[in-house]
Amino acid sequence: MFKWIKENIIMVLVVVLLLVFAGFGIFSKYKESTHKSSRTEQVPEKTKNKDSASAKEETADEKNYRTAKLKLEHPYTESGEEQKQQVLKAFDEAINDIKKAGHLSKVKGTVENHLSMSQAGMVSTFAMALLVNEYDYQSSKLEVMPSENEDVVQFLIVLTKPGEDNCYFVGNFNTTVNQIQLKAYVGGNIGGTFG
């Protein structure tokens, strides 16, 4: 045996080194997970969330934002400033019109409120978020991206409400006729039932 080891000393050294590295790796991982779980047991609920964040886990809101953004054709390309201002203005006017209507049954997509290209159900859902669920539109968080069609840009808007998840609406905006086409929403506590 000793003779065989002596004759194959290089191979033996390589094997020993490999086993040492593997053992070290396993030990480190084991130590880390043990340390983590013991910390989790001692800390309150809120600190748990902090630990998750520090481990770069995606929050529900981040996931919703990513889900919404990835529905668009060019999610990581910004459109021109002029187009962004067009969308911004249209949303301001659309939301003012919805708030002016005051009640869901009176809200309708028209050329004047820039919602004529939106499905009636999506107009109702958007109005519901603002009027019934009392979400606020955050114009400063508007994102506008180019699309596969020359006369269309795509947008992502953020609605917020204290104590609730953000709600993200995405869709098309026709730059020729300044019309919003709401296509989908992600996240938020939208809708409701009342017994």
Partner: protein
């Protein structure tokens, strides 16, 4: 010598490879187990998403539509002398080129480019010759042919957008009221003639048309030039005496006297466990008028089952509460009369014990009474169960129906409820064993 080579080189080498692979396997296994246990600890995030599909910019592009149907616009100039740029402008004002609105608009379902009511098939010679005898329907019974503005009549249904574009030009040319709009090469003048001829009752119609021409129509003056180049400046030649302005020919037209009955056509007949939630069903819920065509095959239509939208016929309580829809429609589907006592969260258990003689169930079924848990405290009727376990429900007392937020009693709305929401809201169901609902 061979043995020496075997012992000193080959054997150690094979052993080394073997030991390394064992080591790596062990390491991977252990690390996999560790990371696997970590992911088990990750918080499961339930994302509220209205639809899984991506957003296509083609749905919002007028430009791609015009280019796709360019030949039809050029033919429309020949067929009816209706200038393409004016035609495009008027479609925008009439129905917003709404490619995503399936709520019964004439554009989406009837390929009607805006306001073409039923008249006479002899008004559409080029359309019929080019796109076939079945390209025009004047019965008023086809999808999107119902006129909801109270002006009477019905919309003409066209088989395709191409037929709708050419058909609109022919319709326009056959109306004596709009003579100044025909064979007119000035877009604004065309639109003024249409407004002056009384196309719409809206007092601001002419202003809207002109403003939209400046915004949209001017962009397609190149198409006008191509059309004029192809067919000349006065392409439309009036043939025999025109049959008149929208006068219905009884052989071709049946007047739709129930244009706005809020009926959702009829209840669907899809079998439970079939179909996927349609991609365009992206809203939170739908009033009957807003229901996408894609969902209609799955509904139970209360208006076909004894209940009148906005009442009072068929309703038990007239309370505008969720329970009223359940008991009123439930009576029609399963037999019985009067109310079933219990708040929304108790309806399923009350129906199970007092009407069906059994217990609540965890599996949904078409026609089932559903209740949520006490926290959500809601009830309604299951219309359909999709492949993925999502359900389409009909309900009352949400932001889209009922008394609390919508403010109108004896109303209903439809909604798709995903499995995650069914679970979180504690949906449970009541239906009899060995009996099917009587759905019309």
């Amino acid at each position: 010598m061979k043995k020496a080579v075997y012992l000193k080189i080959l054997l150690p080498l094979v052993s080394l490879v073997f030991i390394i692979s064992i080591g790596v396997s062990i390491l991977a296994g252990v690390l996999g187990a560790v990371s696997g246990s970590q992911s088990n600890c990750t918080t499961e995030v339930a994302t509220s998403t209205s639809t899984d599909s991506s957003v296509s910019s083609g749905d919002g592009s007028i430009d791609s539509f015009v280019k796709e149907h360019k030949e039809a616009y050029i033919l429309s100039w020949k067929a009816g002398g209706f200038l393409p740029s004016a035609s495009i402008t008027q479609t925008m004002i009439e129905n917003g080129f709404n490619f995503s609105n399936p709520n019964g608009t004439s554009f989406w379902q009837a390929h009607n480019m805006g306001g073409v009511k039923t008249s006479n098939k002899s008004n559409f010679p080029v359309t019929l010759a080019t796109y076939g005898d079945d390209s025009v329907d004047l019965s008023g019974s086809k999808p999107g042919a119902s006129v909801g503005d109270g002006t009477g009549g019905a919309y003409t249904w066209f088989k395709s957008y191409d037929a709708g574009i050419v058909g609109k030009a022919e319709f326009m040319a056959h109306q004596t009221l709009y003579a100044k709009a025909i064979n007119n090469t000035d877009g604004k003048s065309v639109l003024e003639a249409i407004a002056d001829g009384g196309w719409a009752t809206d007092g601001t119609y002419k202003t809207k048309l002109i403003n939209m021409y400046n915004t949209l129509g001017k962009k397609y003056e190149w198409l006008d030039k191509e059309a004029i180049s192809a067919h000349g400046e006065k392409p439309y030649k009036e043939t025999a005496a025109s049959p008149g302005d929208s006068d219905s020919d009884s052989s071709d037209t049946s007047t739709n006297s129930k244009n706005k009955d809020c009926s959702d056509s009829s209840s669907g007949s899809a079998t439970d466990g079939t179909g996927t939630v349609p991609a365009d069903a992206s809203a939170w819920g739908y009033k009957p008028d807003d229901l996408p065509d894609s969902l209609k095959q799955y509904i139970i239509d209360p208006s076909k089952n004894g209940l009148t939208y906005k009442g009072p016929a068929g309703w038990v309580e007239h309370s505008g509460q969720c329970v009223d829809l359940t008991v009123s429609l439930g009576n029609q589907l399963w037999g019985g009369s009067g109310t079933v006592y219990g708040n929304g969260d108790r309806q399923a258990s009350s129906w199970a014990s007092t009407r069906f003689g059994n217990s609540t169930k965890t599996n949904p079924k078409r026609g089932a009474i559903f209740s949520t848990n006490a926290a959500a405290n809601h009830t309604g009727i299951v219309c359909h169960v999709f492949e993925d376990g999502s359900i389409l429900i009909v309900e009352q007392n949400t932001p889209l129906s009922g008394i609390n937020k919508y403010g109108v009693i004896d109303t209903w709305n439809y909604r798709v409820v995903r499995p995650a929401t069914q679970k979180s809201d504690g949906f449970h169901y009541a239906y009899p064993d060995g009996k099917e609902p009587n759905i019309k």
